[in-house]
């Protein structure tokens, strides 16, 4: 039987959900199972309701499941909230004291067993042991994960081992429908959060200045990156505000290093003027916008895809920019590397669109994280010039990009301004200079568009296509699988490269289908309208969700099915 089990661990913030989840995820990971982990938490530090959801499978998984097989309820609220989502075969694991009167509930005296093992504080370890027991994990795995966590020699390791075993033993007589045949294989790849993949991508891209102002859900990227300060040529600088952050990044890039910032919608709003600064000075920068629901402060710890049209059009007047929304953990890593490459190649800003769900969830990266052998900086020096004193930073060129020198490195003077300017970087209000500079900047679009990867088809020849972008990828693919299993002629088309819009390839991909539905975490189907603007093709329907939670493949499938008119559309 294929493995597809979802474990949810819920409680209040500060109750140690993370401990249970980490041990469990660690065990699955090191045994060579596929898995993913979604974190759901409120915008507060203690209290409230949080949960962690681990989906375990023998196949790659990239979206959360809509049913729960094992619920670890660290408090009553968890029990109440998640009971409805239990699979028919599901089991609810509770501390003895919280024992609920339901037949699927299994009360284990976590706290008492923890005390026996050396301290109440280890109740979560007991719970983890019980989970592993129910899941049928070999006992040996407990030791391994605890060793990894605590180090073998620590007394705390022994106590926890003891505690976990007590939990494990406490359930050994229970049988569940979804007990796993645990493999003993290599792990399927690294288990990384979106935030960490992005941070590692920045490191691999040779990003040297990362300036930021804390804002959920982007802060994790910077926290992950800060780990490498002192080990790589890197400064991670917390700015006084987002305006400073983006301007620092522009200053650093101008002075010659790869530089980026990360923020969320509110911070991105504050950066829009700086985005234009990068554009008119043709300074290559990378901005990661980790989306959360708005408007304004919105839902700080929830997810959304509501900023697409905003980032495409942000800042006054017009200029080329790249907008890329990675679909997977490996792609996120590569996107940062690619973003810096494109930024420097075209001397334009690049915006990477991710979201809270993607950043705060853990996914398996099946492919190795490859560091580029060399970094192409697209720079010029005096040695490349006939006459360095005649160097003009904004020399006209057909491609739109001019040779880029660095200030104070050579004799060539590097002179740029946020005002409209002549080729020499001096302010100019002349009609000819203005026209030349607009034409020069906009000319980049042509080649930039050629860099764009077409959207990713998944059974792309189907009659109906589900079209989405970025982190909705996993849910869309799985929805397609489900629908195809039920004999619907459905495929998917998922974008990572959104701007400049790869118009021709999109048109081609979409004009083959009978109709397409958009699947987006926003209320107005932004990609849908963008497609219509750019290709004239109109979406036949939109699957939207804007409650701050990620897509579940099942709900996408159900909605799509409804829009296709029940089963009439089967092939």
């Amino acid at each position: 039987m294929p493995i597809d089990i979802t474990v949810t661990i819920g409680g209040t913030a500060g109750q140690g959900i993370q401990t249970v989840g980490d041990l469990l995820a660690g065990a699955c990971h090191r045994s060579g199972l596929y898995l993913m982990v979604v974190n759901d938490f409120e915008s507060r530090i203690r209290g409230g309701h949080s949960f962690m959801q681990i989906r375990i499978s023998d196949q790659p998984v990239a979206a959360p499941y809509h049913k729960v097989h094992l619920l670890v309820a660290l408090n009553q609220e968890t029990y109440d909230r998640h009971r409805a989502a239990m699979d028919t075969s599901g089991v609810i694991l509770l501390d003895q004291e919280e024992a609920a009167s339901e037949k699927s509930a299994l009360a284990v005296p976590f706290t008492r067993l923890a005390k026996d093992a050396g301290g109440k504080i280890m109740a979560n370890t007991v719970a983890a042991g019980a989970c592993l027991g129910l899941l049928g994990a070999p006992e040996s795995i407990i030791k391994e994960v605890l060793k990894e966590r605590f180090g073998e020699k620590e007394a705390v390791f022994e106590n926890n081992l003891n505690a976990a075993r007590k939990g494990y033993d406490a359930v050994k007589d229970e049988t569940v429908d979804w007990r796993i045949d645990w493999p003993d294989e290599e792990s399927k790849g690294r288990l990384l959060s979106g935030s960490r993949a992005l941070a590692l991508g920045a490191l691999a891209a040779d990003c040297r200045l990362a300036a930021f102002y804390p804002m959920s859900p982007s802060t994790g990227i910077m926290i992950n990156l800060a780990e490498f300060v002192g080990k790589a040529p890197l400064v991670v600088e917390q700015a006084e505000d987002e305006i400073a952050a983006v301007n620092m990044v522009v200053g650093a890039a101008f002075a010659g290093v790869r530089a980026m910032t990360a923020t969320s919608g509110g911070g991105f709003s504050l950066m829009t003027e700086g985005l234009g600064l990068a554009a008119i000075t043709e300074t290559p920068i990378v901005i990661i916008n980790a989306q959360r629901p708005g408007p304004a402060t919105g839902l700080p710890t929830r997810t959304a895809q509501g900023d697409l049209q905003f980032v495409i059009h942000a800042s006054q007047d017009e200029f080329p920019r790249f907008v890329i929304a990675p679909q997977s953990i490996n792609q996120a890593f590569e996107t940062v590397i690619r973003a810096f490459h494109l930024a420097e190649k075209y001397q334009v800003p690049v915006i990477i669109l991710v979201d809270q769900y993607f950043n705060d969830s853990l996914f398996i990266a099946p492919e190795k994280l490859k560091v580029p052998e060399q970094i192409d900086r697209f720079l010029t020096t005096d040695a490349d010039m006939a006459a360095p004193p005649a160097y003009k930073r904004f020399a006209l060129s057909e491609s739109g990009a001019s040779p880029r020198a660095l200030p104070c490195r050579d004799k060539a003077l590097v002179t740029v301004t946020a005002n409209e300017h002549g080729e020499d970087g001096h302010i100019s209000e002349a009609v000819a200079d203005r026209n030349n500079m607009v034409n020069k900047r906009m000319a980049k679009t042509k080649n930039m568009r050629n860099e764009m990867q077409p959207p990713d088809p998944y059974f792309g020849d189907s009659e109906t296509l589900l079209v989405g972008w970025g982190s909705a990828d996993g849910a869309i693919r799985e929805a397609v699988d489900r629908l195809r299993n039920e004999n619907f002629d459905v495929g998917g088309l998922v974008f990572s490269d959104l701007w400049p819009f790869p118009e021709a390839t999109v048109y081609e991909a979409l004009s083959k289908c009978k109709r397409f539905f958009t699947v987006e975490l926003n209320s107005s189907s932004q990609l849908g309208w963008l497609i219509r603007e750019q290709t004239g093709l109109k979406f036949a329907g939109a699957i939207v969700k804007y409650d701050g939670r990620p897509f579940l493949p099942n709900e996408v499938a159900v909605q799509a099915q409804k829009m296709m008119g029940g089963r009439d559309d089967r092939r």
Binding site: V229, I243, T415
Partner: protein, 284 residues
């Protein structure tokens, strides 16, 4: 000694005849010449306004950025390459209005840049609205009843926060100002030089006559530049007598000297080492 002419540039100057900015420009050139820093080793970062145009009018590398945002741009450039000599030209509106938050942060960081604020107590380029340093009661078209608030005291602000180099110059004392700029550039860490600057077009109160009557140089032989209390008091003198000079000076480690990431030299000079990065990534 380098000739000041070495910094001349042939881009047409766009300031009004008689503007105090010319004195500041000359003082900058002289300070650079005195230190024999060739134009290609100077980076000027500026904001938007009449002051912000300064780098266009001399030979140098420059980044003429957004209104109010020169300080973070300069900070980023300094972090990228801490060998750079960075001068920043901003207006009073630019630095103390739109950019006020960055000034506070620059002081906290003690980032090693020399910040020249052309303080004409008015918004010049936008045609004469009040600035944060306009006096209470200053009348403009946007403030026909006069400014209702009080003026910011930038020197007292900086000194109160422990800034390590706080000075005031006057465009009418070019030699003195050029010495301040030179000292500011030599100082490791943030140097704030607030410069009294005459705006002949929009400030008819704080004129050359006004300043020439009032301005006096702090007597270096008598004035202890490291006396915080004296500095604080001196910063509050404004009226019949207006002091100029270095109000306060005390060197502490500058920001780029403190950062772990910069111990092995400027970021821009470091080599990319793919093997090392790959190891960092796989070990992490």
């Amino acid at each position: 000694m380098t000739d000041v002419k070495a910094y001349d540039c042939d881009y047409e100057n766009k300031w009004c005849p008689g503007c105090g900015n010319f004195g500041i420009l000359n003082a900058m050139k002289k300070a650079l010449a005195d230190q024999e820093i060739p134009p290609d080793r100077v980076l000027i970062v500026s904001g938007i306004g009449q002051a912000g145009k300064t780098p266009h009018f001399l030979k140098c590398n420059y980044f003429h950025g957004l209104h109010g945002r020169a300080v973070p741009v300069a900070t980023g450039a300094k972090l990228a390459n801490h060998d750079l000599n960075i001068l920043v030209n901003m207006g009073d509106g630019d630095c103390y209005g739109e950019g006020g938050n960055h000034l506070l942060a620059a002081i906290r960081r003690n980032i090693d840049i020399t910040l020249l604020v052309h303080n004409n107590m008015v918004y010049g380029l936008t045609k004469g609205q009040a600035s944060p340093t306009s006096a209470h009661g200053f009348v403009t078209k946007a403030q026909p009843q006069g400014v209702a608030g009080e003026a910011l005291n930038p020197l007292a602000l900086a000194i109160s926060q422990g800034a390590g180099f706080v000075a005031r110059g006057y465009n009418g004392k070019m030699e003195h100002l050029s010495r301040l700029i030179r000292e500011g550039m030599r100082h490791k860490g943030l140097s704030l030089i607030d410069i009294l600057q005459v705006c002949v077009s929009f400030n008819h109160v704080n004129t050359a006559g006004f300043y020439n009557e009032r301005v006096y140089e702090l007597d270096e032989s008598e004035y202890p530049v490291d006396d915080w209390h004296r500095a604080m008091d001196t910063a509050r003198i404004w009226g019949d007598r207006i002091p100029i000079g270095i109000f306060y000076k005390k060197e502490t480690e500058s920001y780029t000297d403190r950062l772990a990431g910069l111990k092995d030299g400027p970021l821009v000079n470091r080599q990319f080492d793919p093997a090392r990065v790959a190891a960092l990534i796989s070990d992490s």
